[in-house]
């Protein structure tokens, strides 16, 4: 049995700016973990990362992958979905019988639409995919019936959409093998100015923020890799790939304080690395941040999202504005580079709340701000019930669901207002940092 897993190209990766590139190109660890599980059971696997190789598939292209029994395509990121479809069509052009399997967040939340609209997609793995993909390879080898494979959906012979029993989530993440990074072109990520040393050490989120689909996809229970396992991955990246910078891509890296304290002690003891992570503002304190900094943590990301308590409450973010201020202040005090994100256009957004965002930013002065426009991804409560929150979704042209181009309007703000707010906040922030406009935005013409 041979399977090729494909990570699609990002349509806008040709941007010459390193920051934009770095945001969209990283080793596809989800695919690499599926690959590792399959390899462990004797399946031959290849990974083709079209994002890092910047291989865009055009509408009328034919794509041939010889010697394969199935192809799995990541349809995790909404913006890459059009390319995932283009790949599936290109494959079917050359071999209509090749089973094409989709998986990931976007595919899991929009599976009905995909199977109805696209004949080039045969099967979709729903949610966490390792065990389902393994069972699927057994079914495709004729050792199991397709409807006995848990956690998939497909069209039957009559064209009906069938959904099998849900697969169980992996309870102990340490039982999963390390991502099969040996199948990835690891050296190319650094060449492109992107982080090669990424690690995901947890899954799940106990919160249900209305703009986020993490808990809907991974579940509300947080599952953590052990400290030993995280160290093993760091060691692999340091020894095998000579990396000195690690980025933890967990949603709430410091969810378990005791795990991080122990991890920091071990990192300090064993490695000379710089690392960065993202977490919630209520999952840090001065002592913990101090330990992290001592262990090489030089950058931290906080999702502030709004400086309006009313909006935070409406979005079920379960954090206060004061907590956000304190976390940024403490992280800066220990010498970390702080990045904070804000979402413009959340439920209840108006000119007054946008002013609060600006005031917050100028007061706390994170080292970098990410001003995202609300983007209602499939799987989020806002996507399911926008009217309940006074949000109007403007279109579902998925390739533009990048946080940068307005895709919603609120009761008080048009898309132009949101774009103007972004421009104005960015300008004020640049001024406060003492940057000329050209440093944060290009002057063209």
């Amino acid at each position: 049995m041979k399977v090729t897993l494909i990570n699609p190209y990002h349509s806008f990766v040709s941007s010459p700016h390193t920051r934009a590139r770095a945001n969209v190109i990283a080793p596809p660890l989800g695919l690499a973990t599926v690959a590792a599980v399959l390899e462990k059971q004797g399946v031959k696997v290849d990974i083709v990362d079209m994002a890092v190789s910047e291989r865009k598939i055009s509408d009328d292209e034919k794509l041939s992958l010889t010697g394969n029994d199935a192809v799995g395509i990541s349809a995790s990121l909404t913006t890459r979905f059009p390319q995932a479809i283009a790949i599936s069509k290109a494959l079917k052009q050359t071999d209509k019988d090749m089973p094409v399997i989709f998986g990931g967040n976007h595919a899991s939340f929009t599976y009905q639409e995909i199977l109805r609209k696209y004949g080039s997609v045969d099967i979709i793995v729903l949610f966490e995919g390792e065990s389902s993909m393994l069972e699927l390879t057994e079914a495709l080898s004729g050792r199991k019936k397709l409807d006995d494979v848990k956690g998939i959906t497909y069209r039957n012979k009559d064209g009906e959409i069938m959904v099998t029993h849900p697969a169980e989530k992996v309870t102990d993440l340490d039982t999963l093998p390390m991502p099969a990074r040996h199948l990835l072109p690891m050296e190319h990520y650094a060449e492109k100015g992107c982080f090669a040393g990424t690690i995901v050490s947890s899954r799940g989120c106990p919160y249900r923020c209305v703009f986020c689909s993490t808990s809907a996809f991974w579940g509300h229970k947080v599952r953590l890799n052990s400290v030993e396992r995280v160290l093993q991955e760091i060691e692999y990246l340091v020894e095998k790939h000579h990396l000195k910078e690690i980025s933890f891509a967990d949603d709430i890296f410091t969810y378990s304080r005791s795990r991080i304290v122990k991890l920091c002690e071990m990192i300090e003891d064993k490695f000379d690395i710089q690392w960065a992570c993202g977490t919630r503002v209520d999952c840090v304190d001065a002592d913990l941040l101090g330990k992290m900094q001592k262990a090489g943590c030089s950058g931290i990301f906080f999702g502030v999202e709004s400086a309006s308590q009313n909006i935070l409450d409406k979005c079920k973010k379960h954090q206060t504005v004061e907590m956000c201020k304190r976390a940024i202040k403490l992280a800066k005090q220990v010498g970390m580079r702080v990045e904070s994100s804000f979402i413009l256009g959340l439920p209840g957004e108006n000119n007054e709340t946008l002013k609060k965002d600006l005031d917050f930013i100028l007061e706390t002065m994170p080292d970098r701000i990410l001003l995202n426009l609300l983007t209602p991804y499939p799987g989020t409560i806002l996507y399911e019930r926008p009217h309940e929150f006074g949000i109007r979704i403007l279109d579902d042209d998925w390739q533009y669901y990048t946080h940068a181009i307005p895709s919603v309007e609120t009761g008080d703000l048009s898309w132009k207002d949101l774009l103007k707010a972004r421009a104005s906040i960015e300008e004020e922030y640049s001024k406060a940092k003492g940057e000329t406009p050209g440093e944060s935005s290009a002057d063209v013409g």
Partner: protein, 96 residues
């Protein structure tokens, strides 16, 4: 740019790729690229940007620019090509 490549470009019709990624504020134009970078266009850039509606060829845009700013045709062509190619590279306009 070679002469034949210039000739091809002049017959292209630049088109803004998204209708909701730009605003005008105090006479200036701000454009957001799909990955988030924001670009402020200067007066010439903004003038050209407004004409990238798919109905004006690159040559026509250069002609209008030359007339408005009273510059030589070749200078206008050079400026327009430079800006349009840059905007295309950023994923902001397509060339039909």
């Amino acid at each position: 740019m070679r002469n034949d490549a210039v000739a091809v470009m002049l017959n292209k019709y630049p088109l803004r790729l998204h209708k909701r990624n730009w605003i005008e504020s105090d006479g200036k134009v701000a454009v957001v690229a799909p990955l988030g970078e924001m670009y402020w266009l200067n007066e010439t850039g903004a003038f050209i940007w407004r004409l990238c509606d798919g109905t004006h060829s690159t040559k026509a845009i250069a002609d209008v620019l030359a007339e408005k700013y009273n510059v030589e045709g070749d200078t206008a062509i050079k400026d327009v090509l430079e800006i349009i190619l840059y905007l295309e590279k950023l994923g902001l306009v397509g060339l039909q």
